[in-house]
Symmetry: C2
Subunit: 108 residues, 2 copies
DNA sequence: TATATTTGCAACCGAATGGTTTCAAAAAAA
DNA sequence: TTTTTTTGAAACCATTCGGTTGCAAATATA
């Protein structure tokens, strides 16, 4: 059973749950109210998010508040790092070309 | 059939292909040499990557060179933006606490 | 104490996923 | 021209996925 952060964010409902929980801790029922699905399916999503440590629980009486482990999101950012270098380089090259064009225009 | 960038990067083989293609354009055969799988399965992955425009093709004779559409990767970065704000804020708060602790220490 | 609320888990189902084998088309090489 | 190489696509298969229904446990309320 693959269970990593990339598989976790592959599902659009889970991405929406993550966005919700980024703003505030919520119970499964409260989360489910925001989607066109059953509480149990949200529960399944929360289980997956918990398994890859993207979400943590806090029990308050019979309610369980789920909140986002924001630092886990940095793992995606870390993976993107290698590509960011590339696209920043390309952007720099574009800047260079544009600036050269501008200079030539000034000379004309 | 869901076909977005988040689903595309969910598979570890596809992530590895993306990393390979970030360095240089490659043919399906050359890509497959790097993995413990068949060329056909790599071909399937390339199809998925092509469908969500993460990869583009260039035919040279009977060979097809695949390369990464680096700008498409920015979409992930864009989604991460909302969380980056949060984790930077939290970091600022931590900085504040640490600086306060330092000041208190100096007073002692 | 009896009832209602909140939740997780198991069983089941159809669809999607990732892989393999087989085949056909196109281009290069013999 | 015949053969080899490179590739994509189709058919098939076991597994996973996302969802539903039903149930049991724990806690709060009447």
């Amino acid at each position: 059973m693959r269970r990593d952060i990339f598989q976790a964010i592959a599902d659009p409902t889970r991405r929406a749950i993550i966005t919700l929980l980024a703003l505030q801790a919520m119970t499964p029922n409260a989360i489910a109210d925001n989607f066109n699905t059953t509480r149990q399916s949200v529960s399944k999503h929360l289980r997956i998010l918990t398994e890859c440590e993207l979400v943590k629980q806090k029990q308050v009486g019979r309610e369980i508040y789920y909140s986002l482990e924001i630092k886990k999101m940095k793992e995606i950012d870390k993976w993107l790092e290698q590509f960011r270098k590339i696209w920043e380089t390309r952007f720099d090259q574009l800047e260079k070309v544009l600036s050269t064009m501008k200079k030539q225009k000034n000379v004309e």
